[in-house]
């Protein structure tokens, strides 16, 4: 109704408007639409809870079960996060700062677990060892599956850190160990914290691995309830608690990180740091430790899959899965490509806004998209299910577009981080030079910014693709009827204890997810080199 009155603004405002014409109106409008799309799940979760009645929802929260789930979730999160922080930081330090033999090789192998879905790690362990179950099993499996989320940012920050600070610290009479604690860890603090945040978010969202291990968390419980249509209030209640926990974690991390900004005087490209020389004993112990970690995290899950194929007899297994394998691989790749392309495209306007412009509105828009991080896949899938039931008469439910939209929303923050980094590699001044040379705004953007950002955009695309390939929870809920992806087909086989049939799917998923990982690794190596040569 107010929209009708808006054009009749008082004439006094006119000059102000004219001056603000330089504001990126189109960009802001598009970004607002995207932010609105991303907010859909949260909004519908609230609408659905409202429809179910807040009293009913509240009654569902105040139950002994909630306490159990909370205790399970919290103790697992704390233990796994601490273990991941330790493993990720130590391995990153060994690879980046010491003369550990073969450290370039380990730098690649240590990241490989990212390409192995958590539920495949879980499958590898629990199918071979009966004792891998419950709390202890969940700790073991999740630590091995997600420590690279700490390793990657810490390694990057150690590589980029200014070695001068450590040298100054030593010259001021501070010993090697205290320098490590006060300076090196201090420099990596933001990276460790950021990595831990990702670990916590993954743990809160995980379904497959815990279901296999018989470990009950909010996410597994929501999933179980989802299959019973009468349990809408319960699902809503649990989802709200889960979102609340995620929000607390996000807010805590933002607050904690805000304390220390990394300031550096002088040029941004640091010198290479001479690696620390490990003694003979330390080298042997470190090598053994890193090799053991890789064996447990990479070797065992892949080995177990190969073991089950051999055990089932290769010819019979290949006959029984070859047709379904092709179809599943095709669907998985198609969904991954669609979601990856859509996410990269949608992240572009917000990234340009965030990097090239300032202002309260753009900050709000950018931050609001990170709310998606607080929405585990199961909650987004749940909200989208309610949405289609409520407004589309279930017309869109379990269709390919809805699944792709679900992926797009889930992995948008990931894409945004990558696209922002990509846009940041193309300084705005280059666009200005291009315009002064007679290029229109659009021509300048495509001839300069997009070209420079292309490798980063490809990396963002690959990251989303990788996540889609290894996604299970939302896929199980929203996969089109009659269609199987690699993950759902694997899940079906292993649920019926057909390990020999499940194992090939695990291997293909790992292979499909490794391709983007390699591309990602190449991109970050190349960009590090380009930065080095620029000085």
């Amino acid at each position: 109704m107010n929209a009708l009155q808006a054009p009749a603004a008082p004439p006094a405002l006119k000059p102000v408007r004219a001056r603000r014409a330089a504001r990126p109106v189109g960009l802001l409008a598009v970004s607002t639409l995207i932010a609105a799309l991303l907010a859909v799940p949260l909004v519908f979760l609230l609408i659905e809870s409202h429809a179910a009645g807040w009293h009913t929802v509240a009654a569902q929260i105040v139950r002994p079960l909630t306490g159990t789930l909370l205790w399970n979730t919290v103790r697992l999160t704390v233990v796994v996060t601490v273990l991941c922080a330790f493993l990720g930081t130590v391995t990153a330090w060994l690879v980046e700062r010491t003369d550990l033999p073969g450290r370039r090789f380990f730098a690649v192998l240590l990241v490989v677990p990212l390409a192995i879905p958590d539920f495949v790690v879980s499958f590898g362990w629990s199918s071979l060892f009966v004792w891998v179950q419950g709390f202890q099993g969940a700790v073991l499996v999740m630590t091995l599956a997600v420590y690279p989320l700490v390793y990657l940012p810490v390694a990057a920050s150690l590589r980029a850190a200014d070695p001068g600070q450590e040298e100054v610290s030593r010259s001021l009479g501070v010993g090697r160990l205290r320098t490590f604690v006060r300076i090196t860890l201090g420099q990596a603090r933001g990276a460790i914290l950021g990595g831990c945040l990702l670990v916590v978010l993954v743990l809160l969202a995980e379904y497959g691995a815990f279901e296999m291990l018989g470990y009950q968390t909010f996410t597994t419980e929501i999933f179980t309830n989802l299959q019973l249509p009468t349990e809408v209030p319960t699902s809503c209640a649990l989802a709200l608690v889960l979102v609340a926990i995620s929000l607390v974690v996000l807010a805590g991390e933002a607050r904690w990180r805000g304390g220390g900004r990394i300031a550096r005087s002088g040029p941004m490209a640091p010198r290479a740091m001479p690696p620390l020389r490990l003694g003979r004993a330390a080298t042997a112990a470190s090598l053994a430790g890193v090799c053991l970690l890789i064996a447990l995290a990479v070797g065992l899950p892949t080995g177990a899959s190969i073991y089950w194929i051999v055990e089932g007899g290769v010819p019979s297994v290949s006959n029984s899965v070859s047709v379904s394998m092709l179809s599943a691989a095709w669907h998985t790749a198609a969904y991954g490509v669609c979601a990856g392309a859509l996410d990269t495209l949608l992240a572009l306007p917000l990234a340009v806004l965030a990097i090239r412009h300032s202002g309260a509105v753009r900050q709000f828009l950018e931050r609001s998209t990170y709310l998606v991080l607080a929405m585990p896949g199961v909650v987004i899938a749940l909200a989208l299910t309610y949405f289609t039931e409520q407004y589309l008469g279930s017309a869109g439910y379990q269709t390919a577009p809805l699944l792709v939209i679900c992926y797009t929303i889930m992995f948008f923050p990931l894409a945004l981080v990558g696209v922002k980094a990509a846009i940041a590699r193309a300084p705005a001044s280059l666009d200005e030079v291009a315009r002064s040379l007679g290029q229109s705004r659009l021509a300048a953007f495509s001839r300069v910014t997009l070209r420079l950002a292309a490798p980063g955009l490809a990396a963002a695309f690959c990251l989303v693709f990788l996540e889609v390939v290894t996604e299970l929870t939302a896929t199980l809920i929203l996969v089109p009827t009659g269609v199987q992806t690699l993950a759902t087909q694997f899940w079906q086989y292993q649920s019926s204890l057909s390990y020999a049939q499940a194992a090939p799917f695990a291997l293909v998923m790992i292979a499909l997810a490794t391709v983007p990982s390699v591309v990602l690794g190449r991109f970050f190596n190349v960009s590090a080199k380009a930065q080095g040569s620029a000085t």
């Binding site: 001056r19 280059l430 291009a434 002064s436 040379l437 007679g438 290029q439 380009a530």
Partner: protein, 358 residues
């Protein structure tokens, strides 16, 4: 002939005014420097000229065309302004050839034009290199060639030498100056370095608090600055208290260094009363002990307070006899004879000098 005209230009960022009624005329083929301390608004002025920002009020005319005026704004790509930013800003993904040809229509990109331009900037045969394979000075030359390729009406140079090493700066400066001259281009250089402005420009516009406070040839700016603060900004300056004594000695000023003649078109040439007098260090000389009787009216005694040796010359700080402890003067001399601190010397000032009423 006038090539660029700026009239009553205003620009503010939020509530912070940057340019407040700036006026500037630049004639065709000239090399003009915009000189100002950091934060004086010179980069904003350049960005307004290039069209990257829109003025709040005022007009900008390039050639015959009003590019910014009430209700009109020509976007940067249609201004024909060559822009050479700090650090060159070459496109890192393109070779030198493609950088230089970037603004040319597709058909001309492979013509001999880029090779000609590379010859002109002294980079013959480097066309297939990438920017990161060039030195800082070479990158600046490519950046200039790229700007000249579109045959711009005006070339804007935004502190292009500040990122270069001191020894390279001088040679790149000279080359850029020569290249712009040879191309017959009107050039505007923004800088905070007065040596750069004095040595390169035909005319210098000094920017302070969002306005041009003086616009004149380098020699004029140095010898007849508009006010004492500007005198200090464009070079070393001795600012002394003086007294005009018009009825007794017209056109003369009484200072601690004796009675000195005033510049004919100085700001305060007649009347009487207290003034501030500018004496450049080169206007003072040391008089050897033997020369001139001790009662010579032109010389005055003093004591050496400090001696700084620079190789090509030396700066001696001297307290004139009878002056307060804080009133030292600075003298530039050929620095072969070292003077001990505390030594007594004789100095003589050479007029004419500039004075402002206090």
């Amino acid at each position: 002939m006038r090539q660029l005209a700026v009239t009553d230009l205003h620009k503010a960022f939020g509530r912070h005014p940057v340019l407040m009624g700036l006026n500037l005329d630049v004639s065709a083929g000239s090399f003009t420097a915009i000189l100002g301390p950091s934060g004086s608004g010179k980069t904003t002025l350049l960005r307004l000229l290039a069209g990257f920002e829109r003025p709040d009020a005022g007009t900008i005319t390039i050639g015959e065309r009003v590019v910014d005026g009430p209700g009109s704004h020509v976007p940067p790509e249609r201004r024909k302004i060559g822009y050479v930013p700090q650090e060159g800003a070459l496109f890192p993904h393109l070779t030198v050839d493609k950088n230089v040809g970037f603004g040319l229509p597709p058909r001309q990109r492979r013509s001999s034009r880029t090779a000609e331009l590379l010859d002109a900037v002294g980079l013959t045969g480097m066309g297939s290199r990438y920017p990161h394979e060039l030195s800082g000075g070479q990158q600046q030359r490519v950046s200039l060639a790229r700007a000249l390729a579109i045959r711009p009406e005006v070339v804007l140079l935004d502190e292009p030498f500040s990122s270069l090493d001191a020894h390279m700066r001088a040679s790149v400066r000279a080359d850029v100056h020569a290249i712009c001259r040879a191309a017959g281009t009107t050039a505007i250089l923004v800088t905070h370095d007065q040596d750069e402005a004095l040595s390169m420009a035909d005319r210098i516009a000094v920017l302070r608090d969002g306005r041009i406070i003086q616009y004149s040839a380098p020699q004029n700016l140095y010898s007849r600055p508009a006010d004492p603060a500007l005198a200090r900004f464009v070079g070393d300056a001795n600012l002394l208290d003086g007294e005009l004594c018009d009825p007794a000695a017209p056109g003369m000023v009484e200072t601690a260094l004796g009675l000195l003649p005033l510049e004919p078109d100085s700001m305060a040439v007649s009347g009487s009363g207290p003034v501030t007098v500018l004496i450049r260090p080169e206007q003072l000389e040391l008089v050897s002990e033997g020369a001139g009787a001790s009662g010579d009216p032109g010389t005055i005694g003093g004591q050496v307070v400090a001696y700084e040796y620079y190789g090509h010359d030396a700066v001696v700080r001297i307290r004139p006899d009878g002056a307060a402890a804080s009133h030292e003067v600075m003298i530039r001399t050929v620095g072969d004879a070292r003077l001990a601190v505390g030594a007594t010397v004789k100095i003589r000032a050479r007029g004419p000098v500039v004075a402002w009423r206090r």
